[in-house]
Amino acid sequence: MTTVLRTEALRKVYRLGSFASRVTINAIDDVNLEIESDEPVIVSLVGESGSGKTTLAKTILRLIEPTSGQAWVHDQVVTGKGALGRLDFMKMVQPIFQNPFEAFSRYRTVDTYLQETAMKIAGHSAAKARDAVDEALSSVGLEYADVVGKYPNQFSGGELQRASIARALIPRPRLIVADEPVSMIDASRRMIVINLFKALKEQYRTSFLYITHDLATAYYISDYIAVMNKGRIVEFGAAREVLESPQHDYTKLLLESIPTLTKKWDRPEHIVPERAS
């Protein structure tokens, strides 16, 4: 068994306020995750806003330095003490962000990003880089002609998000960290990108860390689910097990709060107490 992703006592503490009125916030608090699998997997990280899921993702992406602890991807230290060199790290772990219009600079054409990723990170020669770009684009349903010379604002949202997925695929990373990648896409077309992730997992044998607040897509897409609350992972397990028979109270609360299409909510009687006479 290979370890796809492992974190050990990962912690990020923010200190706010002045010396006299210091407040510390444990954005992620002693996170220990271990995902072992020989096949590539999709792991969902779910939780409400403020639960620390984005902080954890950013820590694994090295955008945030952890206060203490370490994280491994395929037995290589990616963050914390003794971490990999920057270039080796970028070959292994790649990000997809929520809003592609913010991820790409509006003053640069999108194809320069793809070219640069192929040459500087994946280490292709200029001649080979074009092939790598073509291949990545075709696996997300785009052609080179669609992106060349175009600035981000000339794309539709779905198209640009797919271009950013293609960019992440070029170095053939072992892990792609996708932070709310479909929340800005219309519900009717969201499933196209979700199905694409499932297909890419098989095609590129890349694992995904999918960060979302939407439990229904998490159920649909993932092999494993980690539920976060207040900086801690409160429940972790196989996706179907966690969502079909949740053990932790917080997971149950989350599941009960989803507006489902199958069962109407129970109506507690005391929301609006009668006017006191």
Binding site: G141, E159, S188, N195, P259, L261, I271
Partner: protein, 383 residues
Amino acid sequence: MIELKNVVAEYTTKRGRMNAVDGISLIIPDGVIVGIAGESGCGKSTLMKVLYGDLGFPLQLATGSVDYGFTNDQGKPVTDTNIQREWFRKISIIPQSSMSSLNPVIRIREQFTDFPAASRNKKATLAKAREFIQRIGLPPESLDAYPHQLSGGMRQRIMVALATFLEPEIILADEPTTALDVVVQKEILLLLLDLQEKMKNTIIFVSHDMGVHYQLTHRMLIMYAGKAVEYAPTEEVFSEPLHPYTMLLTSALPTIGDDRAREGLPGRPPSLWDPPKGCRFAPRCPLATQLCRNEEPALVEVRPGHLSACHHIDKIPGLRAELSRKPTLDEMDATRLIAQAQKDLQLEHEGDRAPDGADTAAEPAVVGLLPDGEPISTDRGQR
């Protein structure tokens, strides 16, 4: 009862005029919660603006009328021309973003006495407000807070309180819980349901989340590219929809416990600058025939209380059977997954390269909101 007669709402822009709502006739009975659903750019927010009477450049009512079914102080019937005088008293709105709707520099208690419909007697109003916000589960001290001192959920409760304070006949809610987490969303929606049951007002509720519609609404209006395509009791919209768009929209949603593979709805709504002459859904519809491309179907009552605009209602059970035969996730092996993804992407690609091109698309898939709730177009050259 609210009666909309052939409402056409148009925006005046540099490129000319565009009908965001294009001929909607509808009757909304009293005391029900009506949900409006559709993709972004289908005109649901514009319809809300028309209903609220919030008309003004660049939006105007080109033709049609709205009759609200009640009279004003002078005994005259209230229509789209004089609804503005009834704001807060008879009709109120719960906007999407509470942060940009509350005045940031005055305390919450001042917002309760700040609107023109509020009583002159500030003391009495405040006492009433204090009691009212306790009823909806907020501490009375929150009246003394500034908006930024409250959490998003509390602010949205304040918005609900402001909108229901004068017990209006009609409440419009435009995605009131989109910015909130699911746990808080449930609280707010249950609160709204409870208040509606006590006050018996009509709520018109816009949301893109079909689950929220199922939980909250009694009737639903499904819109597509400025047109009403289906109007029916909520239960029937989900159990036996009579329009292929409704069916594909609801079947595209993953559900916990349901392992059938889902497909998105590839392609995009037609450009509203140059809408197709027949049924607007025809380019994306699996049932479309030559008739659909040439002739626009009318919204007709198919069953009592269930209206649909489709030429091929008889073929819908077949489509439904086909959708329910979808393979489960376990049956989708790697090759099938990849083939499916490639097929969808191909269709998306054709949609993006449609003759009218991406730059004339009705609205881009990604929109943000300006503080006043106007969508920010991320498309090129439209602003």
